[in-house]
């Protein structure tokens, strides 16, 4: 009997290992599972300082277990987003007025303040469904669909993954493919790339809907090294093509000597920007390669989880991510888990803090801080416990901080005395509840 149980455990574990490759929303599989539903829920608050983006998010992942290691997983995410976000203009010693993304209103930023667009408000729904089952003794497949909807954005995706076990199921090799089509329909239309920001009501620089396609391939190996140690190594290829701009981002047009914005006069009787701004433009294709490695090590009840990712792309962005978690049991039914993450990236080749008036035209330019040169650190703590009924609860609190610099060769004249990179501080607070097992 004991041997039969061990075999069940090994099969379930191998399935679990496979299931953890390939998709970002996967479900850990427990040994000897009975058919039935279980639910993994979380309420999240994500809040950036300076009244920037605030998100309250409800997450539900339900999983139906069937006999013979077959699983149906259904996910729902509901995000409520408010707050302000950098539009891309530089701060200046006078107030700056911008036409809102819809083209139908203006907002003004005080002097010497980093310009933020506070017209941002959105609700996002995301749904996912996946089915997993063994195909033969050593092969497992997982097929899934994803969809999400925001006011001006629709995402549809499909994914498929095949995994095969080797070496007494100590090694699992998997290949995952995903395809997504995203459609953008910004209110008033997406701006013509590199066109000027116009007066309120002038929609002559707007185009229609835009879309992009994304293809992902993930090749992975998971290996049990010993009774206490396992690791995973993935290679990922990702290609995005189509409209890759952020339709809400623009750049200041500045004087080549002073670095100050170029003044602009709205048309008679019209309200509009008092300085020149141009909407961004990015290449219509991006190819990324990533290598991801993770290891888990069990030490007398404590578990160390370490991972590293290297990403490089043809926008000439390279990034490194190191993530460490240490799960520390407290008593019989609870644990503490400190978390540390470090991220660093360099700027895209077309990242510019501003456009110089009269300079030769550029094909691509973006001042989106997410394409800049920055480091980020996350520090967090989680506390998890089992309830009397055997369900699980956890609470985590994390602090996320970004710190970046403008490229020194792009700083012109008076810009040297101003804040040129917005930076970011955010709090992540989450409460999770798992039940039904």
């Amino acid at each position: 009997m004991a041997k039969k149980n061990s075999k069940t455990i090994s099969v379930s574990l191998a399935t679990a290992t496979c299931s953890l490759l390939g998709t970002s929303v996967t479900t850990p599989v427990q040994a000897q599972e009975e058919p039935g539903w279980d639910f993994n829920t979380a309420l999240l608050y994500y809040g950036e300082s300076d009244d920037r983006v605030q998100d309250v998010s409800l997450n539900i992942l339900g999983r139906r277990t069937y006999v013979d290691d077959r699983f149906l997983t259904l996910g729902l995410v509901l995000d409520s987003l408010t707050g302000a976000t950098p539009g891309g203009a530089l701060p200046f010693s006078s107030p700056q007025t911008f036409t809102s993304p819809s083209g139908l209103a203006v907002y003004t930023t005080p002097a010497d303040v980093f310009p933020l667009d506070d017209t941002f408000l959105d609700t996002r729904f995301a749904l996912s469904a996946s089915w997993q089952q063994p195909l033969s003794r050593l092969f497992t497949m997982n097929a899934g669909l994803t969809a999400s909807k925001e006011y001006d954005y629709l995402h549809l995706g499909a994914n498929f993954k095949l995994a095969r076990d080797f070496n007494k199921r100590n090694t699992t090799v998997s290949l995952g493919l995903a395809f997504a089509n995203d459609e953008l329909d910004p209110e008033g239309g997406a701006p013509v790339p590199l066109s000027a920001m116009l007066d309120v009501g002038d929609l002559s620089n707007k185009t229609g809907d835009q879309s992009k396609d994304i293809v992902d391939v993930v090749l992975g190996v998971t290996n049990v090294a010993s009774r206490n140690l396992l690791f995973q190594l993935n290679y990922s290829f990702s290609n995005a093509s189509g409209y890759l701009n952020d339709p809400f981002k623009f750049l200041s047009v500045v004087d080549g000597t002073s670095g100050d914005p170029i003044a602009r006069i709205p048309a008679p009787g019209a309200v509009g920007p008092l300085y020149e701004y141009r909407f961004e433009n990015r290449p219509d294709e991006r190819t990324k390669h990533s290598v991801f490695g993770q290891t888990k090590y069990y030490m007398d009840g404590k578990v160390l989880d370490l991972s590293y990712r290297y990403m490089t792309d043809d926008w000439e962005i390279d990034s490194h991510t190191i993530d460490a978690r240490y799960r520390w049991p407290v008593g019989d039914s609870s644990y503490l888990e400190p978390h540390l993450r470090y991220y660093t990236q360099n700027a895209a080749e077309f990242y510019r803090i501003s456009l110089v008036n009269g300079a030769p035209p550029v094909s691509f330019a973006s001042s989106d801080y997410r394409l800049g040169d920055f480091d980020a650190i996350t520090v967090g703590m989680k506390y998890g416990w089992k309830t009397r009924s055997g369900n699980e609860m956890s609470a985590r609190l994390e602090y996320y901080m970004q710190d970046g610099d403008a490229p020194s060769d792009q700083i012109i004249g008076n810009q040297a005395s101003r804040e040129l990179y917005p930076g970011l501080d955010a709090i992540i607070a989450q409460f999770s509840y798992r039940f039904g097992k």
Binding site: S6, I9, S10, L13, T17, L20, S24, V25, T26, P28, Q30, A31, N40, A42, L61, G75, V77, F120, T146, E150, D152, H155, G157, N159, F166, K168, R169, N170, T171, V173, G176, A178, D182, L184, V218, L219, T222, V224, S226, R227, N228, L230, L233, N234, Y235, A240, D246, F248, K288, V291, F292, Q294, Y298, V303, W315, S319, Q345, R396, I428, S432
Partner: protein, 74 residues
Amino acid sequence: MRVKHQAAMALLIATVISGCSSMGVEPWERDVLAKEEMQLVTDPVEAGIDDHIYFSKEASSGGRGFGGGGCGCN
């Protein structure tokens, strides 16, 4: 250069697989590995939340899994 990268990656993965065959445990030695805290992703909802946050705020995504689209994040 890119072909070189891909060839190096294929070689690395092949080496890992062949190296893996000398490691591992017997089926009855999986007591620790079967624990929930030893799964590669212990909390899939939290992993999804983190992926979404960092996808929205950084130029990199994926690695563990698919990095695809999914939001017009600000």
